[in-house]
Amino acid sequence: MKLDINGRVHEVDAPPDMPLLWVLRDLAGLTGTKFGCGMAQCGACTVHLDDRPVRSCVLPVSAVGMRKVTTIEGLSTDNSHPVQRAWIEADVTQCGYCQSGQIMTAVALLDKKPDPTDEEIDTALSGNVCRCGTYMRVREAIHLASKLKRGVR
């Protein structure tokens, strides 16, 4: 089947019930999207489907069709995306395993709400678990990314 991933068409040989996560990781070789729970509880597998954040670990690849899939690799590989820049500046990451999912959720939030409040951040990001406990810096980075995106910093 064909998939539009990060603006490129990929031809993959996947059973229809295979979650998008494993298609990305094991068939398309895009390992930036992570497996954490397999049941949409932790958000490590978050990718965008037509700019909306989805949990790829429970999304059968047959349900994707030709909608645009964006993974962490599709944001930018040189960290030029404002959210990535903010993440580095705020020194958010620890082990880093959940960070792709946190970043993808944050990007989708900022697309919808360019200047979110703490409460809006909490609501949007509460599906993304971080066992290292980077939450405070995630909040800080999202506020910073908002400023970078709006050009007010």
């Binding site: 729970c37 509460s126 971080c130 066992r131 810096r137």
Partner: protein
């Protein structure tokens, strides 16, 4: 510290991209130099390599699992080397004796020790390298090395200057100095500064490679069906249906489990679901939490093996004005790092390569060699980034490595064994369950005069190579933080004793180890005593701690920062705890409320005395992370066993703290601490549960003595 000349060797190697000059400084206790082959990759025992393009590769003897030593250890070398920080490229060391942790004999990451155990070695490496580079430049200019200066990887004499990369090859030919002076603390440029992480860029764009991301042509993925109950054994299995699943290639026994080897994860998972397996029931019906806790409570009624005993405890209790008694209960806890366990193994003839996020490289290397009937030197360990560790990846039994080697050997193909979250939560190696019982006699001022403390819980090190550290029946990791508590300093009669019952459930160290329960028991009891004496909890503690000035200072500063005496809005209260672990003292004040019948933590004020702070930015992150990890356990963490089976399975019922519950956590370092450098990866974990429980008492008058904390 001085180094003998024989401790140093030099070598040059050809890398794929051309000549890379290396000079390396092996472990200071290494007996004899090892000369590497003139060609081939850089030698395995180097700590720093400098390439002609000035790139400084720092080889890290510890694993980066979030705690920041990728950056911290690099800072130690760079401080003395005076290189250009932007040229520093850290990498994990292979498994080699030379990378053993100083004074431990094994290559490991744990005990909050990456920075303090390497503080001298890594600085000496940097200083030795700088000295050689300067001498090489001075020789080229025929001037005295003392007349040269170094900054940002450039050596200068008068108007002449040379980059490190330009003289690295000549430097390599010099004999390393027998000893090198290290900078005075006042001259540090990097140490003590808030330095940003070197691993951020690759973790922000998804290119960082974790064990889970390892891939190469021919690699298969395997999932293993393990016993559904602790103590259960594999009787027989039928893999026919599994083999019908598209993508499944092999079904092999692991001895007490069944592995399904497939082209990718999804096929392996469907294949495992299709296995038909008969397991024997666990002996005695298997462990159940309810009966275990009842047994532990019974055991706690009488003293166990003596960890600490001073004076006549029973007499002291008998003569006390009154006696307070309390029992504290702690469940099994899984570590649940974000990256589920995984291990990739490739066996080629008598050689074996392993890629796994491990905290225990040489231990795993030895375990793999035993499975293969070979020697450790035939086993190469590659350490990718660890998606969290928290102790789970430091297993003396090397469970996830041993199993993967068994699977690869049986399957005859390279495999990556992947654990699901359910496998992780139900796979054992937990923080043990404990019961504490404390009986404390107080005088007419409410001060303790006799303290009897019984701890009941499985030993973490029994049955492992670390068991030699069990003295007189006492595993120190079970009583650390209770034994020798500063609160017991002034108590004339005291006894801390330990029962270590066994079970089929394997246990392991979990971030801050024994302190996870001892800090709660001690700090809860002290709080109970303070309230019974109708004294302010901070004032009461300060009086008891009068012989422990570092505790007093941390507690006072935390109370001050938190505005301890300042009134709070209705519905809020504060609680406090102070505890030492891994040489660092952490005082925490938690501000707590109750929302919809649930405990809500709003603000946590932390004061940390860890001695010299190498990277304050990393320390802040670690302390905040410890609070989150400890708070997840305090509010939710619990594994329940019924008939040997763990009832919880994933993040919906083994809940971590989430963003909307994240309190504001402030971190203050004790200014001008001249204490010996302590650890930072774990110590702040332990005080949060008692600080919250003590706040809950102040708010609701409910004394919660069982974890996780649940309001009545």
């Amino acid at each position: 510290m001085t180094l003998s000349r024989r401790d140093f060797v030099q070598s040059a190697g050809l890398a794929l991209t051309g000549l890379v000059v290396t000079f390396h400084v092996p472990h200071i206790v290494r007996a004899a130099p090892t000369l590497s082959a003139p060609k081939g990759p850089p030698p395995p025992n180097s700590f720093v390599r400098i390439a002609p393009d000035d790139t400084v590769t720092v080889v890290l003897a510890h694993s980066e699992m979030g705690q920041g030593m990728w950056t911290g250890l690099s800072m130690l070398i760079a401080e003395e080397l005076e290189c250009d920080w932007s040229k520093v490229r850290p990498e994990h060391a292979p498994a080699e004796a030379v990378y053993a942790r100083p004074n431990r004999g094994i290559q490991m990451t744990g005990g909050s020790s990456s920075i303090n155990s390497e503080f001298d070695r890594y600085r000496i490496v940097g200083a030795t390298a700088r000295d050689m580079l300067v001498r090489a430049a001075a020789a080229r200019w025929t001037v005295s090395p003392a007349s040269c200066t170094v900054a940002k990887g450039v050596i200068t004499h008068g108007k002449s200057s040379l980059r490190f990369g330009e003289v690295a090859e000549e430097a390599m030919k010099l004999t390393p100095a027998a000893s090198v002076p290290l900078k005075k603390a006042k001259d540090w440029k990097l140490i003590g500064q808030p330095v940003k992480r070197l691993d951020s860029p690759e973790k922000a764009n998804g290119s960082a490679k974790f064990g889970m991301d390892v891939t190469f042509p021919g690699l298969r993925t395997a999932l293993v069906a393990r016993p559904p109950a602790f103590g259960a054994k594999l009787v027989k299995f039928d893999g026919a249906a599994a083999l019908q699943v598209s993508g499944v290639e092999k079904v092999v026994s692991t001895g007490n489990g069944v592995a399904v080897v497939a082209a990718h994860f999804w096929a392996a998972k469907l294949g495992r679901d299709a296995l038909v397996i008969e397991w024997s029931p666990p002996p005695g019906g298997g462990l159940s939490t309810e009966t275990q806790m009842a047994e532990y409570r019974e055991l706690a009624k009488k003293p166990g093996a003596i960890a600490q005993e001073v004076g006549q405890v029973e007499g002291g209790l008998g003569g006390a004005r009154s006696v307070l008694e309390a029992e504290y209960e702690f469940p099994f806890l899984a570590h649940a790092p974000m990256e589920p366990l995984n291990c990739t193994v490739k066996i080629d003839g008598d050689q074996c390569e392993i890629w796994t996020g491990t905290q225990f490289q040489t231990v795993d290397q030895g375990a793999a060699a035993r499975v293969l009937g070979t020697t450790p030197d035939k086993v190469q360990i590659h350490t990718p980034f660890l998606g969290g560790g928290f102790g789970r990846r430091a297993n003396p039994a090397s469970d996830f490595v041993t199993e993967a080697v068994v699977v690869a050997k049986a399957a005859g193909v390279p495999v990556k064994v992947v654990w699901t979250r359910e496998d992780d939560i139900r796979g054992g190696y937990y923080r043990p369950a404990y019961v504490h019982r404390a009986r404390v006699g107080v005088d007419d001022k409410g001060n303790p005069v006799a303290w009897d403390h019984v701890v009941v819980g499985q030993s973490i090190i029994a049955g492992t190579p670390f068991a030699t550290r069990i003295k007189d029946g006492v595993d120190e990791t079970s009583v650390e933080g209770a034994k020798n508590s500063p609160y017991l300093e002034n108590v004339p009669a005291k006894r801390v004793s330990l029962h270590s019952p066994k079970s089929d459930v394997p246990v392991l160290w979990w971030r801050s180890v024994g302190n996870t329960h001892t800090a709660f028991a001690m700090e809860s009891m002290i709080d109970e005593l303070a309230h019974a004496a109708k004294r302010d909890p901070v004032e009461y503690r300060l009086a008891l701690l009068d012989k422990s000035p570092r505790f007093v200072a941390a507690l006072k500063l935390a109370a001050d920062k938190a505005g301890w005496k300042k009134p709070l809005p209705v519905g809020r209260a504060r609680g406090v705890a102070v505890h030492e672990a891994f040489g660092s003292i952490v005082a925490e004040v938690a501000e707590v409320g109750v929302e919809d019948g649930r405990i809500r933590v709003h603000e946590v004020t932390c004061v940390v005395d860890c001695g010299t702070a190498v990277n304050p930015l990393a320390i802040e992150a670690q302390v905040q992370g410890c609070v989150v990890y400890g708070l997840s356990a305090a509010l939710y963490g619990k594994l329940t066993l019924v008939g040997g089976k763990v009832q919880e399975s994933n993040f919906h019922d083994y809940q971590p703290l989430r963003m909307f519950e994240m309190p504001h956590v402030s971190v203050t370092l004790m200014p001008n601490s001249d204490a010996k450098m302590g650890g930072i990866g774990e110590p702040a974990t332990a005080p949060i549960a008692p600080a919250v429980a003590n706040a809950v008492f102040a708010l609701t008058q409910q004394r919660l003595r069982k974890l996780p904390l649940r309001l009545a």
